[in-house]
């Protein structure tokens, strides 16, 4: 068995977790990412202990909002000049930088204390599937998705389409009206 010091380092070792943001609702995804950033998924969790993990989020440009939140939701953005905070819709904000929406959602979801900026440094956001190798080699596990992304019709195979349950089977001479 490891010594006491080794045991301590092992217990509080940091993990690198992969999270796929493809077609995931942004607020719920942020809530789940925060759980792992703060270390709430560990039985040794304590709010004053720095026991959080690194989270690598990919496909942030394909993140989702429900209803008309892309138009309705506003983010406060500073343009860089003095006294120029403007309200930008989520759609424009996302178009400006595809990682910003997830970042802002996670930032607002984290506890509002001095640890917030330290925790944000352990969040790594990538707009697409490409991860640098130095980050990719650290990955250990994935974060389970908030919801399974639905499949498009062209992604189904022919067997799956044939075996799909149907409400009624139209007769051979059935012709839809227009």
């Amino acid at each position: 068995m490891a010594s006491r010091v080794q045991q301590h380092w092992l217990t509080f070792s940091r993990m690198w977790l992969l999270c796929d943001a493809r077609w995931q609702p942004a607020p719920e995804l942020a809530k789940r990412i925060c759980k792992y950033l703060e270390g709430r998924h560990k039985p040794v969790y304590h709010p004053l202990t720095d026991c959080g993990d690194h989270v690598v989020v990919i496909n942030t440009k394909e993140v989702a909002f429900d209803k008309n939140q892309w138009e309705k939701k506003l983010y406060a953005v500073n343009t860089g000049y003095k006294n120029t905070m403007i309200a930008m819709s989520a759609k424009d904000f996302h178009r400006m930088d595809p990682t910003k929406v997830v970042e802002r959602e996670v930032y607002s979801e984290l506890p509002k204390n001095l640890q917030r900026k330290n925790l944000m440094t352990r969040l790594h956001l990538f707009p697409d599937e490409n991860i640098p190798d130095n980050i990719k080699q650290n990955l250990v596990d994935i974060i389970p998705p908030v919801m399974e992304p639905p499949k498009r019709l062209d992604e189904f195979t022919e067997e799956e389409k044939a075996s799909w349950p149907r409400f009624f089977i139209p007769p051979a001479d059935y012709k839809p009206s227009d």
């Binding site: 709430r40 998924h41 560990k42 039985p43 040794v44 969790y45």
Partner: protein, 180 residues
């Protein structure tokens, strides 16, 4: 006793030094004039006492919340929710509290894993009993404890503990699929 006016006039005042000494004993760690000047010191001492009393109660609340948070993390690691863990252990008449369970989850992880298995079986058994199916695997419901009417199924458990939501669920389950 001040039997005469002359003795009353001559009686010494209460010892101011010891009165103040008591306050300074309690404020010796405070900052600046809060430890030296009596008027400020006694105010800050009373303030510290109020905060300490409040803290004694808040500490218990915080620690219990922390146990629950840790148990939620530990049980979800084994694929069981916290609610199912607690209810399942209660149904199996395992009377470990949250403090001991969270301690086991950190220091004796293998023991905790088997405890989670007990909770899972017991909770599933209760559901199966409510829906009229026979339990499979290890039978934990056959033990008879101090709760007389509890026989291991969800129905009698709800009757025992007067669980309202669970009772409604059991009634619903039994009316839809009555026990054979």
């Amino acid at each position: 006793m001040f039997l005469t006016l002359a003795r009353y006039a001559r009686s010494p005042p209460p010892d101011k030094w010891w009165k103040r000494r008591y306050v300074y004993n309690n404020t010796w760690r405070f900052w600046g004039r809060h430890r030296n000047c009596y008027k400020i010191a006694i105010q800050s001492m009373q303030h510290a006492w109020r905060a300490a009393k409040r803290g004694r109660r808040e500490k218990k609340r915080f620690v219990r919340g922390l146990w629950i948070e840790r148990l939620r993390a530990a049980s979800e690691e084994h694929g069981l929710s916290y609610q199912h863990l607690v209810v399942g252990l209660d149904m199996a008449q395992v009377q470990l509290d949250r403090k001991v369970l969270s301690h086991l989850a950190i220091y004796e992880p293998k023991t905790f894993k088997s405890i989670v298995e007990i909770a899972r079986i017991s909770y599933g058994e209760g559901l199966m009993a409510a829906t009229g199916k026979q339990p499979e695997g290890v039978s934990l419901g056959s033990c008879t404890g101090t709760r007389g009417s509890f026989k291991g199924d969800l129905w009698s458990y709800c009757k025992c503990r007067n669980v309202r939501g669970g009772l409604m669920f059991a009634v619903f389950a039994m009316t839809t699929s009555p026990r054979t």
